[in-house]
């Protein structure tokens, strides 16, 4: 059975202007990701992993090259079309959670469904299920300020998966967490990957989570150094 590619990147170059010159964050990156993959973009700070993740998510644009995500050419889409792709097909997990501080867990998780105009009865069902997945039933009415970092990140995961996106992008999801919480988060994400058809892309330099990844792409100075598939992850 052939697997559909969710991401197709060819000869991607990303440059940032710095003063009168420019800094090359990504150069000649070629990458394909199939549906359901559990991939880590790893490398030291400044290697270009977050930039690559942002370009895949349509939050940033490429300088050269082609980026196809979910059969859509990102560089040819308008801001609104990219927003629509993100809204319908993508979930984001950020290092600093980026939860809306005035919203409760329930309201934060519900937000992507509201943006997608999902009916209230469906919303209740999906939000409840997403919160169950991450095990935050007892914190449903808590606000981010009343929760630990691990709980906030679990809320962010629930928010990222509640609308069952085709692609989930996570930027350093465990960077602010201790070892125990990091493993808990990765277990949840790994389980979701197994149960859903969602593809996961992590940008990370956290050694603790490497054992969960099924494919590791090493980046350094904006180039892919190696791309390794792991048949049996350490923490599978």
């Amino acid at each position: 059975m052939s697997t559909k590619n969710v991401i197709e990147i060819k000869n991607l170059v990303k440059q940032f202007s710095v003063g009168e010159g420019y800094f090359t964050a990504l150069q000649s990156v070629d990458l394909s990701l199939a549906e359901g993959e559990f991939v880590g973009l790893v490398g030291p700070s400044g290697s270009g992993k977050t930039t690559l993740l942002n370009i895949i998510g349509g939050l940033d644009s490429a300088t050269h090259g082609s980026v196809n995500v979910l059969d859509k050419s990102i560089e040819k889409t308008s801001h609104n079309e990219r927003a629509e792709i993100r809204r319908k097909n993508m979930g984001f997990i950020f290092q600093s959670y980026n939860l809306l501080p005035v919203y409760t867990v329930y309201e934060n998780v519900e937000l992507p469904l509201i943006l997608n105009n999902v009916e209230k009865t469906d919303r209740v069902k999906k939000v409840t299920q997403a919160i169950e997945w991450v095990g935050l039933q007892d914190k449903i009415n808590s606000k981010p300020a009343q929760m630990s970092g691990g709980e906030c990140q679990r809320t962010a995961i629930a928010r990222a998966i509640v609308h069952e996106p085709a692609l989930l992008l996570a930027d350093e999801p465990t960077a602010n967490l201790d070892a125990e919480n990091s493993h808990n988060i990765m277990k949840i994400l790994s389980k979701l990957n197994t149960e859903m058809s969602t593809s996961f892309v992590f940008a990370t330099h956290d050694e603790k989570i490497m054992g969960y990844l099924k494919r590791i792409i090493h980046l350094e100075d904006g180039r892919i150094l190696n791309d390794k598939k792991i048949s049996i992850p350490k923490f599978s």
Binding site: N54, G57, L59, D60, H79, N80, A83, E84, I85, R86, R87, K88, M90, F92, F94, N98, L100, P101, V102, Y103, E107, L111, P112, I114, L115, N116, N117, R159
Partner: protein, 392 residues
């Protein structure tokens, strides 16, 4: 509807932020209405005082009478036309006989305008009932507090009054202060002594004569008044109206300054609040909210903020506005001493147009200061917004 729900959730979720923004906006709204109301009140109150204490429904003047020229007083009197006299008999009007006099309080000599007025009249707000004849007093005299201060006279003090009668003979007699009135109309006070009309007529040998007649509000104008001239309220307050009219650009400038100050307060609070939410805007964009929707959301929040501020201004400051509108604010200085017709207390006047225009303008300011920063942030790269890089 979706944006409205999110905006409501954002506003009521961020209780402190919303309360502060709404409070700042409502205080601005209150201050603009209150200070402008005071200014309008100051201008209109002067007019009202003049009407209440001097003009009532209007006046009929002897043709020679010119209140600005005391030399005319000697000739500006006659027997009142029949129809006007009938009004007086029916107590719908009262006559005033004006003449020049000299008074000698405490051995000093002071020029005065002596006005005979019907005791007990209720048409203008002057306490003339105190002039009801007391047989023990030769000439009962009513003066204002300023006149009392200048002449150093107190209630019960007697002093000599000298006047020129119709036979061109100087006469003199003793007047006694029966009351010192507090009036906001300095024109009734400074240099004036008020005595009973009948007494003035007999002193001046001008029986049944008067200089002018003031009639009650709501009466029709009498056509057949001989050579006496009718002056309506508009004519009597024309100078004041001209002053108010001339002051309109000044009032508009003051209103604009107030509004600009209020706008700065709102601008600071709103800008700070929105730029602090740069990361939130980035998150919403990452979750798939379009730029236009982000701007619409924050502008809608601004509109709701303005609405809440109007409600808060009504609840918190409405009673204060109402209280001062009813009772006025006492002024620390008596401007009458400076010859300025300003009330001893200021009663703010809040016109409907002032309230509505202020609410609309403040709402527009809130919308603009919500729209501009949110538009600026939404035009940033989402990655910059996510990092909270938004800056004013």
């Amino acid at each position: 509807m979706m944006l409205f729900n999110i905006a409501i959730k954002n506003l009521f979720g961020a209780k402190l932020r919303t309360s502060l923004n709404v409070f700042v906006t409502s205080v601005s709204l209150f201050l603009v209405i209150f200070v402008s109301g005071m200014y309008d009140g100051m201008r209109k109150h002067a007019k009202n005082i003049t009407i209440e204490t001097e003009i009532a429904g209007g006046t009929y003047w002897h043709p020679e009478y010119d209140p600005m020229d005391p030399r005319t007083f000697e000739y500006s009197h006659s027997v009142m036309p029949t129809k006007i006299k009938r009004l007086i008999d029916q107590k719908y009007a009262f006559g005033v006989l004006v003449s020049q006099a000299s008074i000698y309080p405490n051995g000093r000599i002071m020029p005065a305008i002596m006005k005979g007025i019907t005791p007990g009249q209720t048409i203008v707000n002057i306490p003339t009932d105190v002039l009801e004849q007391d047989d023990d007093i030769t000439i009962p005299v009513l003066i204002g507090s300023e006149m009392a201060k200048n002449s150093n006279l107190k209630i019960g003090d007697s002093f000599t009054i000298r006047w020129l009668d119709a036979d061109r003979t100087y006469d003199a007699d003793e007047g006694t202060i029966v009351h010192i009135m507090e009036t906001e109309n300095f024109k009734l006070d400074q240099g004036h002594i008020w005595i009973p009309l009948s007494k003035a007529q007999s002193m001046l040998a001008l029986e049944n004569q008067a200089t002018y007649v003031t009639y009650a509000k709501g009466l029709d104008v009498i056509q057949d008044t001989g050579d006496w001239i009718h002056h309506d309220v508009d004519y009597m307050i024309r100078d004041m109206e001209a002053l108010i009219k001339a002051d309109e650009p000044g009032a508009q400038v003051m209103y604009s300054i107030l509004l600009a100050l209020a706008a700065m307060g709102i601008f600071n609070a709103q800008i700070l609040s929105i730029f602090r939410r740069g990361k939130e805007i980035g998150t919403l964009m990452a979750l798939g909210m379009t730029r236009s929707r982000v701007v619409a959301l924050f502008t809608l929040e601004g509109a709701l903020n303005a609405l809440l501020a109007s409600a808060m201004a009504l609840i918190l400051f409405g009673p204060i506005l109402f209280y001062f509108g009813e009772n006025g604010i006492p002024l620390p200085i008596d401007y009458a001493e400076m010859g300025i017709l300003v009330a001893k207390k200021l009663v703010p006047v809040y016109s409907l147009s002032l309230i509505i225009s202020t609410m609309v303008l403040i709402s527009i300011i809130v919308l603009i200061v919500s729209y501009i920063p949110s538009r600026k942030i939404s035009r940033m790269k989402p990655t910059d917004a996510l990092r909270g890089k938004a800056a004013v």
